[in-house]
């Protein structure tokens, strides 16, 4: 018997570790290292930034980058703006998607097939294509530098409606029909039966919309010019433009951390739901 044939021999253990863990470790490092470097760099003093040497750990630690970034761009206010836009925008979108999907699945209407196709086809129209006409329309109504101007054009929801329709179709129709026989109207059936039964899918759609609204960039970029009304990604561009010397990378990285960290924290807490939500519809049965 050679040493290799024992299952727990050192060579077999090393081989297993290399085969199983090395690729995983590599993938994790490729993701984590740049993010760790970003966070560490946000504490670098200007002297640590402008050097040509690779400095990983800041020396001295320079947390003043954060107050400096907040002095140039009103980050607390931007945080509030992003929160308002995200909560209101994603909230309304989910409501609209629930109502539309319910109507498409449970309300008898001769044209609903065509309505469904009209909703589905919007998935082919990226919001970027609509920017110029929507800019003319919304700014014509005085929507520049307003919350409603940022939120309104993005409310139309094809994606959420589509996902919730698919989910509602899997609900047990007999149960819902029985409720109808008992005299429950559409409103009661929606809130007392369909919404509780489809709660996981609705939560998923909500999370996807929250991530999307928080990161949305192009539309807020064109419709907002007042720094007080900017969302975080737009404010970050303002910081980038006003601090464009090499010495101020520390300040820009501090601003970047303030934008990325909340999402990372939320993602860490809810990753399972967010991953399923963002990848739903992919695996065909």
């Amino acid at each position: 018997m050679t040493a290799d044939s024992r299952p727990l021999s050192r060579r077999n253990l090393v081989a297993a570790l290399v085969a199983d863990y090395l690729p995983i470790m590599l993938a994790i490092l490729i993701v984590v290292l740049p993010l760790a470097y970003l966070i560490l760099s946000s504490f670098k003093s200007p002297a640590d930034v402008i050097t040509q040497k690779l400095i990983v750990l800041p020396d001295p630690w320079h947390p003043a980058n954060y107050s400096e970034a907040a002095r140039i761009v009103p980050f607390p206010r931007l945080f509030l703006n992003s929160t308002i836009v995200t909560v209101v925008g994603a909230g309304i979108k989910v409501l609209l998607a629930v109502f539309t999907a319910y109507a498409l699945v449970f309300v008898r209407f001769p044209g609903r097939k065509y309505v469904f196709w009209a909703v589905l086809a919007t998935l082919m129209v990226p919001p970027q294509v609509s920017v110029v006409p929507n800019f003319v329309f919304v700014s014509g109504m005085g929507g520049q530098d307003t919350y409603w101007g940022i939120i309104l054009p993005g409310l139309a929801t094809g994606f959420g409606t589509f996902l919730l329709r698919q989910s509602f179709l899997t609900l047990p129709a007999e149960v819902i029909d029985a409720a109808q026989v008992d005299g429950a109207g559409h409103w009661r059936r929606l809130w007392h039966m369909v919404v509780p039964m489809a709660a996981p899918s609705i939560a998923t759609v909500a999370l996807v919309n929250i991530v999307f609204e928080w990161n949305d960039y192009l539309w807020p970029l064109v419709i907002v010019s007042d720094p007080q009304m900017m969302t975080l990604p737009v404010g970050l561009t303002l910081l980038q433009n006003s601090e464009n010397s090499a010495a101020s990378y520390g300040i820009v990285m501090a601003g970047t951390v303030m934008v990325l960290l909340p999402v990372l924290v939320v993602f860490a807490a809810l990753q399972r739901h967010i991953v399923t939500g963002l990848t739903q519809g992919s695996v065909k049965g």
């Binding site: 970003l38 760099s41 690779l54 409606t161 005299g183 960039y217 970050l236 999402v263 992919s282």
Partner: protein, 320 residues
């Protein structure tokens, strides 16, 4: 549907003639149908109205704007017919923009799918921490493109960036990522792949996990090598997943904006169709009509690709 038995609010039927009840029933059915239609509209109309105003209306309006010589915000515009299209398609710029778009799209789609598959294969083993690894690899996908772009801009900076410092320690001078058009494109592709490959990895992982172990065992019993198993069994069984990823990744790459805007604001070397449309309207060119023309071309491209993928590619895909 049997859902039409409803406690009627109508007064009880009077037995007067044989035809009356059926007449009443028909009227009642029609009233119920119109009430259902009213409910349908009440539920769906807000969303449908928003879709009409902010998705379909701009699409049509873009086609109209694309025939104008016009500056955004200007009260008047000059109708120029199809000359925006002619100007674009007859210029050298069109070839450049299409080439950049094609290179960016093909490179990002291929790299994120190939690397995503490799990561998925690594994660598909029953090892501790695979769930955590899956979440970690996916996480850049949920981050703001602006933030990701800035973080990488610092790393790529030829003078003070980490990448340049590492290369210098091997005696290599840092490439001029921001001044060389080709290198700018390479850089944006790399960062885009870093941000998006977790998506492909998670989708491929789900695909791998849906492959039944019986099939793989059967192949192993038949003496297939690991390599043979992968290419002759796993990859063909993954073709629906590959097809799905091909569609979604292509559409997403064609819409990539945030990273390009942040890392290469002037778009030198990275002016894709969508970025050109942005620059023409909002980047100081004052060519809103030209921009609308580019958006229309982009939309046409998306429609063609979607139809092509639906009609042509799906037939060739191996479905279980």
């Amino acid at each position: 549907m049997v859902a039409e038995i409803k406690p009627s609010t109508d007064p009880p039927l009077l037995e007067t003639s044989a035809s009356e009840p059926s007449f009443r029933a028909r009227r009642g059915r029609r009233r119920r149908a119109s009430r259902e239609a009213a409910i349908f509209l009440a539920f769906a109309l807000p969303n449908l109205a928003l879709i009409a105003v902010f998705t379909y209306r701009p699409l049509l309006l873009n086609m109209y704007y694309s025939t104008l010589d016009w500056t955004l915000g200007a009260p008047t515009a000059r109708p120029v017919g199809l000359s925006n299209y002619l100007d674009f398609f007859q210029s050298a710029e069109a070839g450049q923009v299409f080439l950049t778009t094609a290179v960016f799209t093909l490179a990002t789609v291929f790299l994120s799918m190939a690397l995503g598959l490799m990561v998925a294969l690594a994660l598909n083993r029953r090892v501790r921490g695979a769930g955590l690894a899956r979440a970690t690899v996916f996480s850049p996908f949920v981050l703001s493109g602006v933030g990701v772009g800035l973080a990488w801009q610092y790393i790529f900076d030829p003078t003070v960036g980490a990448l340049g410092a590492i290369l210098r320690s091997f005696g290599i001078a840092s490439p001029q990522w921001f001044n060389n058009e080709t290198l700018s494109l390479v850089m944006v592709v790399l960062v885009y792949v870093w941000k998006n490959l977790g998506y492909a990895a998670v989708i491929y992982l789900a695909g791998l996990q849906s492959i039944s172990s019986d099939v793989l065992e059967a192949a192993a019993i038949d003496g297939a090598s690991a390599r043979r198993k992968f290419f002759s069994v796993v990859l063909p069984l993954l073709s629906p997943t590959t097809f799905f990823l091909l569609v979604t990744s292509t559409l997403n790459s064609l819409q990539a904006f945030d990273l390009i805007r942040v890392m290469t604001p002037l778009g030198r070397g990275t002016t894709t169709l969508i970025y050109d449309a942005y620059l023409r309207a909002f980047g100081g060119y004052n060519q809103a009509g030209y921009s609308a023309m580019l958006s229309t071309v982009l939309f046409g491209l998306l429609v063609i690709l979607t139809l092509f993928q639906l009609v042509f590619l799906e037939r060739r895909v191996h479905y279980r």
